[in-house]
Symmetry: C2
Subunit: 201 residues, 2 copies
Amino acid sequence: MLILHDYLPSGNGYKVRLLLHQLGIPFRLVEHDVVAGATRRPEFLALNPTGRIPVLQLQDGTILSESGAILCYLAVDSAFWPTERLERAQTLQWLFFEQYSHEPYLAVARFLRMAPNDPRQADLPRLLERGHAALAVMEQHLAGRHYLVGERYGVADIALYAYTHVAHEGGFDLTAFPRIWAWLERVRSQPGHVPIDWRPN
Amino acid sequence: MLILHDYLPSGNGYKVRLLLHQLGIPFRLVEHDVVAGATRRPEFLALNPTGRIPVLQLQDGTILSESGAILCYLAVDSAFWPTERLERAQTLQWLFFEQYSHEPYLAVARFLRMAPNDPRQADLPRLLERGHAALAVMEQHLAGRHYLVGERYGVADIALYAYTHVAHEGGFDLTAFPRIWAWLERVRSQPGHVPIDWRPN
């Protein structure tokens, strides 16, 4: 059985949990308390030297890290991965956008709201400004579109949904982004959707 | 003909230029002076709303952004893209690692050395610390390996080479990383290799 090393509040982990559930792939969840420093301990660094979750452990023990890479690995040959070359590249474009221009602002702002003593509190105004810029890029793209790529729900939607749907927890006001708001609802209404705090039984 | 919107000193742009040259694909280079603010002007934002280079314009006018997505798009069916599912995922793992844990430190430290009046100068010690941590992850991985994935030169090597080979320009000391040093030399000796300031004629 696949093993997912993860931390339940993490949006990066949630992407993988949501896709695994929608693919109907059983897995064992091993939780690591990121806030308590569990991913900085030698046992975890032996799994993933970057000290980050999620980490997927295949049946033969092979380790795969980086949420975007894990999504693409799992989605191959499924309805969640486009068949066409350009749409595959556009999916990757959104995954890289998320990790470079979206997650570092939305996820970190959310984390700082949960950790009021973190020394990076002074960064919050900049994180909110950059995060709003990322949301504006999504809002513009969703004009006349139902999903991010190819008018079909897929890996790009899963990857962007993870931290966008909890943006308010970081202090972002999504009411200014009506197309994102409607898109979140479309993602939420997909068969097999589960919330961020869902655990496999 | 393909059009690449780019900025010559950019490592992100260099990844695409290097791969295009090694694939033997002709392209037209359109240069935008990032430092002078060219990528923040409305004409450029109409191409890519994130205001970032490189941007690849296909023959039908379709726009593709994010260096990692462009590399994967171009490398499909070439010797630079693995044929095996796990090695494809491992390639993506390195591309996401580069954009999340490597480029934000190595590239930004290099940029700050070129822009002494930038207000982010105070970040430099943190950037150097995080960048050295990324280099240590590469150094550990290269133990007993010649290339990052599957013992074959490919897209992962191109993506990581771009900012690693100019790390010294950001104040990083690569002599502490002998395996990286040897790997850089192996990448540099590949057929069709061109330096970062190469332009198509």
